[in-house]
Symmetry: C2
Amino acid sequence: MQPMTFRFPVSSRFGDEPADPVGDLFSVLSRGDIISFAGGIPDGALFDVDPIRDSFEFVLGRHARRALQYGATPGEPELRAAAAALVSRHLPTAPEDILVTSGSQEGIYLSAQALLSPGDVVLVEEPTYLAAVQAFSLNGAKLVGVAADAEGMLPEALDEAIAEHAPRFVYLIPTFANPSGKTMGRRRREAIAEILLRAQVALVEDDPYGQLRFSGEPVPPIASLPGMAEQTILLNSMSKVMAPGLRIGWMRVQGPLKQILGIAKSAVTLQSPALNQLAIAHYLTHHDLDAHIARVVGPYRERRDALHAGLLAILPATATVTRPDGGMFCWVTLGDDTDTARLLPVAVEEGVAFVPGWSFYASDPDRSTMRLSYATNSPDTIAEGLGRLAAALGR
Amino acid sequence: MQPMTFRFPVSSRFGDEPADPVGDLFSVLSRGDIISFAGGIPDGALFDVDPIRDSFEFVLGRHARRALQYGATPGEPELRAAAAALVSRHLPTAPEDILVTSGSQEGIYLSAQALLSPGDVVLVEEPTYLAAVQAFSLNGAKLVGVAADAEGMLPEALDEAIAEHAPRFVYLIPTFANPSGKTMGRRRREAIAEILLRAQVALVEDDPYGQLRFSGEPVPPIASLPGMAEQTILLNSMSKVMAPGLRIGWMRVQGPLKQILGIAKSAVTLQSPALNQLAIAHYLTHHDLDAHIARVVGPYRERRDALHAGLLAILPATATVTRPDGGMFCWVTLGDDTDTARLLPVAVEEGVAFVPGWSFYASDPDRSTMRLSYATNSPDTIAEGLGRLAAALGR
């Protein structure tokens, strides 16, 4: 008798045919011969390499034993203090209200784990960040999409959805959203906050891009509006403004939930790397993140202009394109019967890639949508890529 | 009317009064005036600092853009290759069977998330690693302890427990276990493997300490026994042999579960830091980890001897003490009616700390047990600490 071939059991958390859209994205990105608008990555050519190297040299030269050792679960005190100072520009924050995470992805995951019981509803904007949807789903959430306009989630739709679904929390990226590039203005934020305060519903406010503004006026986070600080988990990341390869972000949260989040963090990764935390703390206190961001947003603005104008020139008259004031993404709605998931292989044949929009929807996707990032390509390369996209659309 | 004070909802995953034994441990450790046997940390004075610093300088000097950028979810190719070469000393392993994790804690967590549906049973040795218990519980597991002797889990008890509970997997630390310091001999491993193969039950084999051997003969992992490779998730870590502050470990797993684990990893931390991965890969290929370990285990053996002999000298005649051939821990069973959780504050008053044993049990704890690490204290300090412990026991 042949021995049975062993197959690991798989948790019911994962559906019958689990998809890995994020992993699939990264494999598309690794092809060298295509112009990719698919990434959600910063331009490595703009990294502040010398000061970062200096920061690691300093820490490994002076504090190696500590940097290489276990540390405290909530994070190294120096980084918690530096992060608190950054957050305090909008919202007074003590170092003990900062919990360091391994990128803001871990912050999203820990928020879900701490707050969600199986079957709980999370309200999200349509479309929204797909890896957040994955993190919520794996923690048993039922995702409900809420209608949005050009400024993001609609207050009246939120009000109705809260009444109908009694959600555990609302997840928003109010500034330069992924994938839509949209930003909520101050009045919209106030309207959203008023509803959340009245209904006593928690907010998970994801803000990895907010500092990457190249036009328009800064708008403070919803967490900074009166009453919202104690009701919001605010997530920031060093990935988009400094370096994703360090995998450091943080959560800003006050009150007893911090203890639960600490237990969750202990079980998931124990701690984030002390070395990376101390090097980033050194960078934030001895180098100039603002000056670095100022150098980055100039090229990003040019690229946004090139992508936005170029898209308008090649797309059908039914199409709309968002024009973000920061961040990395333009969001296209073709507004016809095109399925961008079927367009993608044609586009890749032509030598260009984007992300089909369907995967960013919690339900009822508009399949004529796609996400394009301008962050990593020069205006010339963007023009070349759009020529290829036009050819793909023509086929 | 006073506004209601907002309280975040907390997931039902966390009990009514969630404990944080790991976090509590780290806060005890941070006191400077006590001699601590409580840690589970390597001795920072023995870190291989210069070659580690060299490895970071090399990567940040030559490959900064890549090291600071997003990478692939399963890990950087160089580290997967270097890890596969290490694992292949016992068990032929391809780089694609390595999934890099943020410490072996993330490996434990992802294993639980991938395999467990709520209510599933996990079999563990009694006592076992408490942060693993937390990771399993947060993923909905029911933990069932299996009886052990001086070599760890008893095959006949495992057989009965499988028949009774139909577990999703068995979790073992077969070499220099945390907390017990026990090691399974080859025959015991074969007996355990035979049962798991017959019953077709998966094994999560946690091996963070195996390379830290200072006496006795090496025993290969259970995963390397015939038939077990495809049925086992083998977890390794750089934390105990190199530096915990880098937060890098890996899972060795073959077959379709890799895809599920990749999805899980994407949702939890997206990726482990590319910089840390590339620096460790450089260290493993350009420096000598074996030589470093050889330098570390000499002092660890002396300290084991000092702690083991010293404990025997001060403990009551009812007590037993394990004498590990590697790793970091001696496990004491006082064998009387002492509750070590009540002994601890007395010990701290005397200026010495250990970990009370109750928290390492899935059920029915022996409250006269405690875990003591010898890794970070010199023989003289160990003698002084034991004097204080004797005073505490005398009170």
